[in-house]
Each structure stands twice: as C-alpha cells, then as structure tokens.
C-alpha cells in the first residue's frame, strides 16, 4: 500500500505481492457448476487478462471477487482481507480501494457524467464539493473525454464514451485495483486500440492493478502482462502471452493460433514466431 505511481512489474520481478488471492473457489448455479477448485493470484501492478470461451464464467469470476456473487466454497483475499467472510464494516474500506467498470458502463442514467463520477466521492470522501467537482473533472479528462461531456447524460453518449465515463467513475476514489468487464467489446478497432492505450497509460501513471475480462486478442497482445485462461471450471493455465501457443489444450491452441490471433500477434510483434525471426 505504498502510494500510487509505481511502474508495472512484469513476471520477472522476484518479490511480488499477491493483491488478490483466490483459493479453491467453487461457484454453482443450481446443478450447474461454473467454477470448481479455482485458484488465481493477481500480482500488484500487473495487467491480468482473463480469457475463456463463452459460458466459462469469466464475468462470474469478476462478480464473485467484487462481492456481487457469493461463492459456494473457497476463499478470496483482496488486499489482505478475506472478502467472502468479512463483515460489511471490514469490507467497506477494501471496496473503496477497487473500482469496477461494467461492460455497458452501468452509469446511473438519471445523473450526468460529472455527477456519476462524483457519486462515490460524495458517499465516501470528506471534502468540499468544489474539490470533488475538480477531481471528477480531472478523472473525466484523464480518461480522454472532453469537458463538454461532463454535462451530458449517459444516454446522450456514444458506446465508447460511455465506457470511458464508466472508467472515470471506477477511478473516482483513486483505487489500487480496477476491474474491467470486456472493456473493448463493441468498440471499433481504432476506438478499441485507443482504449487499450488509455488503460495502459493510466495503469502506468497511477500504478494500478488491472483485472480485465476480455475477448479481444488485440488487447491481450497490446496491454496484458499476464493471461489466465479459464477452462474446465478452473484457471487452466496462466502466464505471459508468449507462452500461450505452447499450451497443449485444444481450446487454448485454437484461441491463440487461430487466424485472428496471428493477425493480432503480427501487429504487436510479441508472439514467439515473430520474436524468433
């Protein structure tokens, strides 16, 4: 918990701190088991991408970690607090140290963008409204929205702007961890690339830990330090993207060596083939 502003650590660092620790997680809806014996560590300062086929419970995992879904078994530790069994009083401070940006923004539709970003501040911070407004404007500007957007209702924004506004709200309390659910889904390639770049920049500048559920191979190549693949009800494999093509599992193989993966890889020059030449 040393201030913000430290650069991202990649897998090479020896001393890494698990900011989120999931052990033996089991999620079940009726007879349908989504996760079983799932273990996952998220290191401080990394960008972790969660991938997996449809229905493998990527969003469920995110929702479970942030406490929107109660697991059937297992433990989840965030910033050293057991969030599954903690009382509301113990959870409160931890909740203020993470921010969540939902897929379609989930902005409060009756509030303007500025009021949306100020909403968590009003609730949790003890400062003047003027400073709150300034900080909210700063956050909105940090995510690349024009000052004009402050006054708009979410329904008046485009999909990409809504996602940016949602990120601004997630950053409102200067969290240490940011959860992103499909951040680039539904954006055009240019918008998606810009959003990737934005996440990377903010992550570096503010020293964030980013937990992101995504399908976007371009984002995986461009900004993720590490990738965790969900399959067969657990984290099948995790590691940097370069190692993913070596994994001997049909789904993983198809995902990371398919035509789209190759295209994404060529763009960033990060893959094993291009690296070797």
């Amino acid at each position: 918990m040393d201030g913000a502003a430290h650069t991202s650590e990649t897998g090479t660092t020896t001393q890494r701190e698990a900011i989120i620790k999931v052990r033996g997680l089991r999620n079940q809806f009726g007879p349908q088991v989504v996760h079983d014996q799932l273990d996952l560590d998220v290191w401080r300062g990394e960008v972790l991408g969660i991938v997996g086929g449809s229905g493998t419970g990527k969003s469920v995992l995110l929702r479970t970690i942030v406490g929107l879904n109660r697991p059937a078994a297992g433990s989840i530790e965030v910033l050293g607090v057991d969030v599954v069994n903690a009382s509301q009083a113990e959870r409160g401070p931890v909740e203020q140290r993470w921010g969540v940006a939902f897929q379609d923004g989930a902005l409060f539709s009756s509030l303007t963008v500025l009021q949306n970003v100020m909403a968590p501040m009003r609730e949790h911070l003890n400062m003047s409204t003027r400073l709150m407004k300034e900080l909210a404007e700063l956050k909105i500007s940090l995510v690349g929205l024009p000052p004009l957007a402050c006054d708009k209702l979410p329904s008046e924004l485009s999909g990409g702007m809504r996602k940016r506004a949602a990120l601004a709200r997630a950053l409102a309390l200067d969290p240490e961890i940011v959860f992103l659910d499909e951040p680039t889904a539904g954006l055009d390639p240019i918008g998606a690339a810009a959003y990737d770049e934005l996440i990377r920049e903010l992550q570096r500048a503010l020293g964030l830990t980013v937990f992101m559920v995504t399908h976007d191979l371009d984002s995986l190549y461009a900004i993720c330090d590490r990738i965790a693949v969900l399959a067969e009800k657990k984290v099948l494999v995790d590691g940097p993207i370069e190692g993913m093509t070596e994994v001997d599992h049909p789904w993983v193989k198809e995902y990371f060596t398919g035509p789209r993966a190759r295209a994404a890889q060529l763009k960033t020059g990060k893959g094993p083939e291009t690296g070797g030449e």
């Binding site: 040393d2 201030g3 913000a4 502003a5 430290h6 650069t7 203020q96 539709s109 009756s110 949790h124 911070l125 003890n126 400062m127 003047s128 400073l131 407004k133 300034e134 900080l135 404007e137 700063l138 956050k139 909105i140 500007s141 940090l142 000052p147 004009l148 402050c150 006054d151 209702l153 979410p154 329904s155 008046e156 950053l171 309390l173 200067d174 500048a205 503010l206 020293g207």
Partner: protein, 374 residues
C-alpha cells in the same frame, strides 16, 4: 497512516512549502483548506516534497492546482526533492488538467423564465400535434385490420385482454361493491331526514350506471393497464426493439399498439358492466341492512323507476374512454427517449394524462347528453 501536513516557511530567497505525509484522496479533506490558504504571491515558491511518502491523483491535483495558481499570478514555482514516480504523476495530472471548467445550472433570471415558458408552449404544441397524428395512425391501422382481419395479432390481443381485462375483474368488482355501499350509506342518512329512504334505489342506480361505474372503472384501468402499457412499450423503445421492428418491416402500431387498444376497447365495457352489477349489489345489501329495504323491494323499485337508458349512457362512454387510455399510454411509450428515468417519467405522465382526459371527456359527454335530453 501519516496524515498529510503543510508547513509554510519564509526564507530570504522566497517561500518554501514543506509537504509531509501521504497525500491520498481519502485524506485530502483535512488539507484542502490549507492548500487554498497558501498565499499566492508573485515571488518564488519552492515546494519541498522530501517527506512525502504517498500520493495519488487527488494529491497530485492539489499540488498541480497550487502550481497553476502560482504561475497564473506571475510567480515562480519549483518542486524540490520529489520522487520520480510522484513527479511523473504530477506531470500526468497537469497534462490532463481540463483547464476550462464548465458551469452548472445557468443562473435563473426573468429571461430564463420567459425562455422556459416559450419552450413549454412550443413543446406543448408539438406534443398535441404528435398525439393527434399518433391517434390517426392508430385509427388507420384499426381500419386496415377491419379490412383484413387476418392481419390482427390474435395471440397478443387475447393476452392483453387477459392482463387488462380478466385480471382486473376482482379489483373492479370490489371497487364497484364498495361504491354501492358508500352511496347507500351516505344517501340513506341524508334521505332519512325527509323520510324519502326509498329513493336511495334511484340514487344508487342512476349514479352508478350513468357516471360512477364507468368513470371509476376507467380510472382504475388507466392506472393499472395504462401504466403497464407505457412501461412495457417504453422499455422496448429503450432497448431499440421498436426500431428493430421497423427494420424487419413490422409496423409497431400494428404489433404493439393495436392489440393493446383493441383489448381495452373490448374489455372496458365488460368491466364497466361488472362494476355496475357489483355496485348495485353492494347498494342493495347496504339498503337492506341500514334501511330495511329488502332485496325484493330493491329489485322491483329498480325495474319500475330506473330507465335502462341510464345503463346505456354509461356503457356508451366506455369504448371512448378505452381508446383514450390506450392511445395516450402507447403514445407516451413512443415518446420515451434513452434511459430508464425517461420510462418512469413517461409512465407517470401517461397515467395522469389518461385520467385527466377521461374526466374531461366525461364532462363533454354530460353536456352532450343533457343537451340531447337523454
């Protein structure tokens, strides 16, 4: 957790501001005022950050804001012994400074009031035109269906008849019964003073058949089904389902509006009839208990003195009210824009408007029937 502190120190070559502690968003409330109080002069200000051991964008904002103010007044400002990470963060924040801050809610003035009034009038006019054209579209669709009845969405029609009609029977019946009871009770106390208890039969029958039955049933249906229509179709509008229909070559008026309006058109008269019957039943029961008018006597008197035209006058109004409620509810639903809030507002407006229009229309009918001597 060391709280953030500021210490100002004057020295020969300009002032030095010593910062210490952790400048995190959570704890900024305590230093906000201290930052604002730092006197900004034209001299040089040095900010000593050697003892700062934590900072996030909130803290960086306060520092960069101070720097900006100092520079704006022509002073000089420099950061001293600042950790590279903090310096980078301050740079990021300075780069992102929105510069222009927008002002909320323009000040109210007489001009603003005039502007608002004008907008209100223009919007009101547009709404009226839009409502009439929507009514016209619905009528056109209705005639289209009369010509080609096989185009009618029967499943949808019956489902709405069930929701808006059949399921409303208990509440409408209960309401009618209670109205009958109340009329008998209130009428009895007044009429007893003249020894004219027996006229309570006419009082109940005429008032329920002509006015109260149809008016109150229409109000219940407006509140119950009108709101449901606006909310459900309005939500579809928000989800772009209505637009999807148009692109698929389906006319939303045919698919969404007509079955609902027709369902009300068919069921409202039936509901009114049920309301009248239960009302008479309640009235008869209360007259029996309170005034010793036996049900037999009540029936005889009803048949002898109350003309059937009163019932017909009531029932004739029902289809007009039904169309009014259905068209207003669906029109309001089509006016929904964007968000969930809009659905809520439109639903409220829909119910208020429908009830108001029903009462206004009822008043027109009263004048009409009085003039015609019916």
């Amino acid at each position: 957790m060391s709280a953030p502190t500021l210490t100002m120190e004057g020295s020969d070559n300009g002032a030095v501001l010593h910062l210490a502690g952790r400048f995190l968003t959570q704890s900024l409330g305590s230093v906000e005022k201290a930052f604002a109080d730092v006197s900004v002069g034209t001299g040089a200000l040095r900010i000593d950050m050697s003892r700062v051991d934590g900072m996030d964008t909130g803290g960086a904002w306060l520092i960069s804001d101070l720097m900006r103010r100092q520079e704006a007044t022509g002073g000089q400002v420099a950061l001293e012994s600042v950790a590279p990470a903090f310096e980078a963060l301050i740079e990021t924040v300075r780069a992102a400074d929105p510069h222009e801050h927008f002002d909320e809610a323009p000040p109210r003035s007489f001009r603003g009031f005039l502007e608002m009034t004008g907008k209100g009038v223009v919007n009101g006019w547009h709404d009226t035109v839009s409502l009439f054209s929507f009514f016209g579209e619905t009528l056109a669709a209705l005639f289209g269906t009369l010509v080609r009845p096989w185009n009618l969405r029967a499943a949808s029609l019956f489902s709405h008849m069930q929701d808006a009609g059949f399921n409303a029977i208990p509440i409408v019946g209960l309401m009618g019964f209670l109205i009958g009871v109340v009329l008998a009770f209130q009428g009895a106390t007044q009429l007893q003073q003249f020894g004219a208890e027996v006229f309570v039969v006419e009082l109940i029958a005429i008032s329920i058949m002509r006015e109260l039955g149809v008016l109150l049933t229409a109000i219940i249906v407006a509140g119950r089904s009108g709101s449901a229509f606006t909310a459900s179709v309005g939500s579809m509008k928000v989800q772009e389902e209505v637009d999807a229909m148009r692109t698929l070559g389906l006319n939303p008026i045919d698919v969404l509006v007509l079955p609902r309006v027709l369902a009300l058109l068919i069921t409202l008269p039936i509901l009114v009839f049920i309301c009248v019957i239960t009302g008479l039943f309640g009235g008869a029961l209360m007259s029996w208990i309170n005034l010793d008018i036996t049900p037999g006597m009540f029936m005889t008197r009803l048949q002898d003195t109350t003309d059937v035209k009163h019932l017909i006058v009531g029932l004739v109004k029902a289809p007009f009210f039904a169309v009014m409620i259905g068209v207003i509810a669906c029109w309001q639903a089509f006016q929904v824009k964007g968000s969930a809030t809009s659905v809520g507002q439109r639903t409220t407006t829909s119910v208020v408007q429908a009830i108001f229009m029903v009462i206004a229309l009822d008043a027109l009918f009263s004048i009409f029937f009085a003039q015609m001597g019916i």
